[in-house]
């Protein structure tokens, strides 16, 4: 079992008027950066890096970063910079990038070089993940939405070749053209860093990941649709002639641990507060559906079961379609009420979208997730929304002392092997791939 830690790194500006459950909601891609305070930004970037260091000390196997653009809910616009810093200031944990938004890169050679440098500086701890990005990213970096999928695939092929085939050579593709490919930086890992693919809704991407035998990491989707999406991965894998295992399944979910139930409840509610985040259910602010559904960005009729969830659909600007589909099936859809965070918080705790409690109550709920989905990699999403540094640190400490050790025991019992124990490419055990040893070492250090 691989256990990672994640936060969106929200821009928490208490004075902005946009912060907190009662603050003004943010409409996607409408908020001017004139209110951005670089001094606050400096504090927050350093806070989030410090928390990552502590997460490593607490025994997490991976420190996950992500990337969004032109939005206050995620400060990771240049995720690779944070990754490069972590490469130098951490010692053991994998640096998991989920992920670089390939289609918005006009120069994927630059990306191949950056990732290779991060892999070298970290001495082979990079896990690289690639995504197609949302409409927000296509608008913010002006990448033609209809070519998103083509550019994703071509950039992938280009980077793999840049990492594995000695140069120099030419690349004349449909979207990328290079007359001299010969990067003077190659990945530390041979042949290249592991590649994991995160996602939420695209069947195309799941099928593509399965064909490449890349682990697929579902991002905070509801349990049953997630399980069904994994099944789709398995179906494609069968067509490709191999069996899937837990090493091919990753899952990110919201977990907060605190010292008592009252505090856990109080802080858990902060997931749905802070700067509006369309991926934090109940905290959506106002998503502009046409931006999330730019023409040609994703196929309108090739979505995963995860889109059955109203919250997931709404975060991708598909609330109207969701209601129409439900109406066709004779179902009535009750969207969450963003003005009543208590309701959505309780709703999410009931369906395991948020797990917040003391170790005694969190551990059995995490077990339920593991039993239901059988992932080989999990990521605890914490420290988000309106959570403070102190909130994050208390949770990390308890995760390290009680939750992670319990999860490792469960993983043994349930035979949940991660992609560093069983190679997703070959399904063969990896020598010295038991991450328990690393955990024990970390526990001693703490």
């Amino acid at each position: 079992m691989f256990v990672g830690y994640f936060t969106e790194r929200p821009y928490q500006d208490q004075s902005s008027g946009y912060f907190g459950a009662t603050g003004r909601s943010i409409t996607d891609l409408t908020m001017s950066n004139s209110s951005y305070d670089p001094k606050l930004g400096a504090d927050l970037y350093n806070r989030y890096l410090d928390e990552k260091i502590f997460a490593e000390e607490m025994g997490f196997d991976g420190l996950m970063l992500n990337e969004h653009h032109s939005t206050p809910f995620c400060m990771g616009g240049v995720m690779n910079l944070e990754a490069a810093i972590l490469a130098r200031i951490t010692q053991r944990a994998k640096i998991v990038l989920l992920g670089n938004i390939l289609p918005i890169w006009d120069d994927p050679l630059f990306l191949a070089e950056e990732l290779a440098e991060i892999d070298m500086i970290s001495r082979g701890r990079l896990v690289t993940g690639w995504v197609r990005g949302t409409g927000r990213e296509s608008v913010a970096h002006n990448a033609a939405a209809p070519y998103n999928w083509e550019r994703f695939q071509e950039a992938h092929d280009f980077i793999i070749k840049a990492w594995t085939q000695p140069g120099p050579y030419r690349w004349e593709g449909d979207h990328y053209h290079f007359r001299y490919v010969n990067p003077w930086a190659r990945p530390f890992q041979d042949p290249h860093p592991p590649i994991w693919i995160p996602g939420v809704m695209s069947r195309n991407t799941v099928a593509w990941a399965a064909k490449h035998r890349y682990p697929y990491v579902m991002l905070a989707t509801e349990l049953e649709p997630t399980r069904e999406s994994y099944e789709y991965y398995t179906e494609v894998a069968k067509e490709e002639g191999y069996e899937t295992g837990t090493q091919h399944r990753g899952y990110l979910f919201k977990v907060h641990v605190d010292e008592n139930e009252k505090l856990a409840d109080e802080v858990g509610r902060k997931f749905v507060q802070g700067p509006s985040n369309p991926f934090l259910e109940g905290n959506q602010g106002t998503v502009r559906p046409f931006i999330q559904n730019l023409p040609g960005l994703t196929q309108r009729n090739n979505l995963l079961p995860t889109m059955r969830s109203f919250a997931a659909a709404a975060s991708r600007g598909r609330a109207a379609q969701h209601k129409e589909e439900a109406a066709k099936e004779g179902k009535k859809v009750e969207p969450p009420k963003p003005d009543k965070p208590r309701d959505t918080y309780i709703d999410q705790t009931e369906k395991y979208s948020i797990i917040s409690g003391t170790p005694d109550t969190v551990i059995p709920r995490v077990r339920h997730v593991l039993e239901t989905l059988r992932p080989g990699s999990i990521f605890f999403w914490d420290g988000d929304g309106a959570m403070s540094h102190d909130d994050s640190m208390r949770s990390l400490r308890l995760m390290g002392s009680e939750v992670i050790p319990a999860v490792r025991e469960m993983a043994k019992e349930l035979d949940l092997k991660g992609p560093f124990e069983v190679d997703p490419q070959t399904n063969k055990p990896i020598e010295n791939g038991d991450d328990t040893a690393a955990s024990e070492e970390s526990k001693d250090a703490s």
Partner: protein, 270 residues
């Protein structure tokens, strides 16, 4: 694609893909190029023009019922395909009328092969970057909002499409928007080289603009006028970007007057 008694549906098979079009009327050929949101079928204006001309209304390649050229990357690619279509379905020089994005395509055609044109009419055309303001970016609106903004006001929009456009129409808009994005994502709806290329073009050109056009600023018309030496601007009062819908009678008169004046030249092989 909506048809009428006067118009029939036809298809042209080209090696680059099938092109679907409507044809009606008698007289010299007049080709109408639709907005970026697709061919709505036979409009009142088309019916009126068909009394004077053989009106051809293609779904531009990639839109509506025409095959999508997945390789096409620029508006100029579309213009070349439309000119190939025109070469097949007309016997001599033809009149070319473009609405909005269709006007951009028409201007590109004029820059490449004006000898095939009897006359040119650009109605609320995009294709040139305004010196002030911007062409309204449909990618930053829902297709429904964008089309509403193409009318002079909401009442005018509702009187045409109703409060909620039919599903078929919304699907056409969605399908059309993808093709629009494929060829004009960036720069959005203009080609900086077009103004320069048009300076060599002498075809008689009418520039028809709605007084309240919120999509293509009037400065675009003025730049077309300055580039095209034989052109003049006609402002239609009380109309928006879709001037051909909101003031079909006046636009018909302007087109007939303009293209009719060139008939003599066309009949003499002009």
């Amino acid at each position: 694609m909506a048809e009428s008694d006067q118009f029939t549906h036809a298809e042209l098979d080209l090696p680059t893909g099938k092109i679907s079009y409507l044809q009606g009327g008698n007289g010299p050929s007049l080709i109408c190029l639709h907005h970026s949101w697709g061919n709505p079928g036979v409009l009142e204006l088309h019916e009126k023009l068909a009394t004077e001309f053989t009106v051809l209304i293609p779904d531009m390649p990639g839109w509506g019922g025409s095959e999508r050229p997945l390789w096409a990357r620029t508006v100029r690619d579309i213009a070349i395909l439309v000119s190939h279509f025109a070469n097949h379905v007309t016997d001599s020089a033809y009149h070319l009328v473009g609405f909005g994005f269709g006007g951009y395509v028409a201007a590109e055609i004029a820059s490449m092969s004006e000898s095939t044109l009897g006359s040119l009419v650009l109605v609320g055309a995009v294709g040139i970057q305004p010196r002030e303001g911007e062409i309204m970016d449909q990618m930053m609106y829902s297709h429904r909002q964008y089309i509403e903004e193409s009318f002079r006001d909401r009442d005018s929009y509702v009187s045409h499409f109703g409060e909620e456009p039919p599903q078929e129409m919304r699907e056409l808009w969605d399908h059309s928007r993808e093709m629009t994005a494929r060829v004009s994502w960036k720069p959005y709806m203009f080609n900086r080289r077009l103004v320069e290329l048009l300076k060599n073009v002498s075809v008689q050109t009418s520039l028809i603009w709605g007084e309240h056009d919120k999509v293509a600023p009037i400065d675009v018309a003025e730049q077309y006028r300055d580039a095209l030496r034989n052109s003049q601007i006609h402002i239609v009062n009380n109309a928006g970007h879709v001037v051909e819908i909101e003031a079909s009678g006046e636009v018909q008169d302007l087109i007939v007057a303009h293209c009719g004046a060139q008939l003599n030249q066309v009949s003499h092989g002009g």
